[in-house]
């Protein structure tokens, strides 16, 4: 604190005290924020962002978005989520399908790592807070409704990255159809190569975007770091894609 002379200190002190009095004096007449909870539970509202309980939204056809990948289960710090899934054959393709999504409300710490990491946005937190029950067992809930199934993804699921890969994938994509072999292994490799190329392309797009952002705000160190990171990731993925392409070429040869 700077040293003020006696009188200027006195007057600035009085001024700041009056500011304080003004604030509290205004507060005396504002609407009070207290919630009379049990009485107003009919029309009580809680913030949308409040983390009350984990839920899996279902649409009107009793369909959810969970594909049973188990990423939420892996991310959960204390084993609150158990994803039980099975492999089923759909149109000759093997596919993972959710059987039961078990959520133990009793051990949830509401960190939201599960909802953040869910690739399909299948789970959310609901602002319901009246969770008290009489036994621990009652807190263990199954989130997918009985008879529900995973919603079929609409056809243009990933159009954002698909048209782009021409730049990096042009090296590998012509190879794939050119391979006449019906060897399973080669087909798999080709698929892997395509995926790697896609990934690399996506990363490149992301890196370009980040770089553009960083260029727009040159003083923001965070954005610049993010752009550098994205660029590094793109380069890495490009190398991976190249490697896979080489492998494909070898296998085809």
């Amino acid at each position: 604190m700077e040293n003020k002379s006696y009188f200027s200190g006195l007057f600035s002190g009085i001024k700041s005290l009056c500011t304080g009095l003004k604030v509290t004096g205004r507060e005396l007449f504002t609407k009070k924020v207290t919630e009379r909870y049990p009485e107003n539970r009919k029309n009580n509202t809680v913030s949308e962002r409040f983390r009350g309980v984990l839920a899996m939204p279902h649409n009107e056809n009793n369909e959810h978005k969970c594909v049973g990948c188990g990423i939420c289960e892996m991310n959960c710090p204390n084993g609150t989520i158990k994803v039980e899934s099975e492999m089923v054959e759909v149109d000759g393709k093997k596919k993972k399908q959710l059987v039961r999504y078990i959520y133990d409300h009793g051990s949830c710490i509401y960190c939201m790592l599960c909802t953040r990491s869910c690739p399909h946005g299948a789970i959310t937190f609901q602002p319901e807070f009246e969770s008290a029950v009489f036994s621990r067992e009652a807190l263990v809930k199954q989130l997918n409704k009985p008879g529900s199934k995973c919603a079929e993804k609409p056809a243009p699921a990933r159009p954002a990255v698909a048209p782009k890969p021409a730049t990096t994938a042009d090296v590998t994509t012509p190879v794939a159809p050119a391979a006449p072999e019906s060897d399973d292994k080669v087909a798999k490799l080709v698929a892997a190569a395509k995926k790697a190329a896609d990934n690399a392309a996506a990363a490149k797009v992301a890196a370009e975007e980040a770089a553009a952002k960083a260029a727009a705000a040159p003083e923001d160190a965070d954005l610049k770091a993010a752009a550098d990171e994205a660029a590094a990731k793109a380069a890495k993925l490009a190398i991976v894609a190249d490697n896979v392409a080489k492998k494909v070429a070898e296998a085809q040869a």
């Binding site: 006696y6 005290l17 509290t24 507060e27 504002t30 009070k32 207290t34 009379r36």
Partner: protein, 360 residues
């Protein structure tokens, strides 16, 4: 204006007609004592409820509203709790002083309480040096606080008591100076005469204009400090001294301190209302015959209570706005700012009075 003397004199003559003089005096003393104790208890309860509600409003809350309608029974529950709690005595405390200290505090605040002029003719202690007597008797509370800290044999209590003693004695100087300035204006120390004068000549805060208004503001600051209330509640300092001088008290012994604190606040506001705002005097405006007639219909004690609660609101506003001062800042404020200012105000007031710069 309703004169309470009619009631007291009627009672006195009634008792004297069939009782000897000593019995009359005895009965009157008992009645007065009962009145004081009842008023004391009632206003303590009102004060505690008001403090809770008003502090909640200042903090954008609702305050107690669970027990009874609008939480009205909350204070009664707390009093009941406090009265049924065990009074703990520790082996190494000074038993006699430890038990006596709360009574000293309560006695001091009750005697000052009876100095308040409630209505015309309704004043319990009233004589020619009333203001002086008030200042003297209110200092007895400090003795109780110091004794409490010393006898508890506890370093927190002792530190709290020392702080409280230093604080109260320092701020009493300011209060004394302010009182001197106002006595300069009124020319009398008797509370009843001060009130009567204000009914005839106008309230002191208007008569004394600038110096009186400044005195009033300084009195509000010094008064809060005198009552050991925030922002000057260093002696309690619950975070560092675990409650200060009343750490070792429990049950009703602690309750007395609590009671005395709130009643001291009430007394502080009552004295401010008497000295500055005219006590029971109605706000009369010269030449407004209708207005004055209506105002005189309102009994004096209503005026007095309205003024007291107005000052109480100001004190609570102050208390719930400012952050707590450190002990050195607190003494700095008194000795470097308040005391010189009040001394200067005394001189200004004396000049104003002697050269006739006052509105009558």
């Amino acid at each position: 204006m309703f004169d309470f003397n009619i009631v007291t004199q009627w009672l006195d003559t009634l008792l004297m007609s069939f009782l000897p003089a000593w019995a009359t005096v005895l009965i009157e003393c008992v009645l007065v004592a009962l009145a004081i104790i009842t008023l004391y208890a009632v206003f303590a309860i009102v004060m505690i409820y008001m403090e809770r509600k008003v502090c909640a409003w200042f903090q954008c809350r609702l305050g107690p509203d669970r027990v009874g309608p609008w939480g009205l029974l909350q204070v009664f529950c707390d009093v009941l709790k406090m009265m049924t709690k065990e009074i703990v005595n520790f082996r190494k405390t000074d038993q006699l002083l430890h038990r006596a200290a709360p009574f000293l505090v309560v006695t001091a605040s009750m005697v000052t309480f009876s100095c308040l002029p409630w209505n015309k003719g309704a004043q319990i202690i009233d004589f020619n040096v009333g203001v002086f007597f008030f200042l003297a008797i209110s200092s007895i509370g400090v003795v109780g606080i110091l004794l409490a800290g010393w006898s508890a044999n506890n370093k927190y209590s002792l530190i709290g008591a020392m702080r409280s003693g230093a604080q109260i004695i320092s701020y009493e100087l300011s209060i004394g100076m302010i009182m001197l300035a106002m006595i300069c204006l009124t020319g009398t120390m008797s509370f009843s005469e001060i009130c009567q004068q204000q009914e005839n000549l106008g309230w002191n805060i208007i008569r004394g204009h600038v110096p009186a208004v400044l005195c009033f503001i300084l009195y509000l600051i010094a008064g809060n400090a005198e009552c050991n209330r925030g922002p000057f509640d260093m002696p309690e300092a619950e975070s560092e001294l675990t409650a200060g001088y009343h750490t070792e008290y429990s049950g009703m012994d602690f309750g007395y301190y609590y009671l005395a604190e709130y009643m001291n606040l009430f007394i502080c506001a009552g004295i401010a209302a008497t000295i500055f705002l005219g006590g029971w005097a109605a706000p009369l405006i010269p030449d407004w015959e209708m207005w004055n007639e209506i105002m005189l219909y309102v009994p004096g004690f209503v005026w007095f209570l309205m003024k007291v609660f107005f000052v109480l609101m100001l004190l609570l506003w102050e208390r719930w706005t400012f952050p707590r001062l450190r002990i050195d800042q607190l003494l700095n404020l008194e000795w470097k700012y308040m005391l010189p200012m009040t001394m200067a105000l005394l001189v200004v007031m004396a000049i104003c009075v002697s050269f006739g710069f006052i509105w009558n």
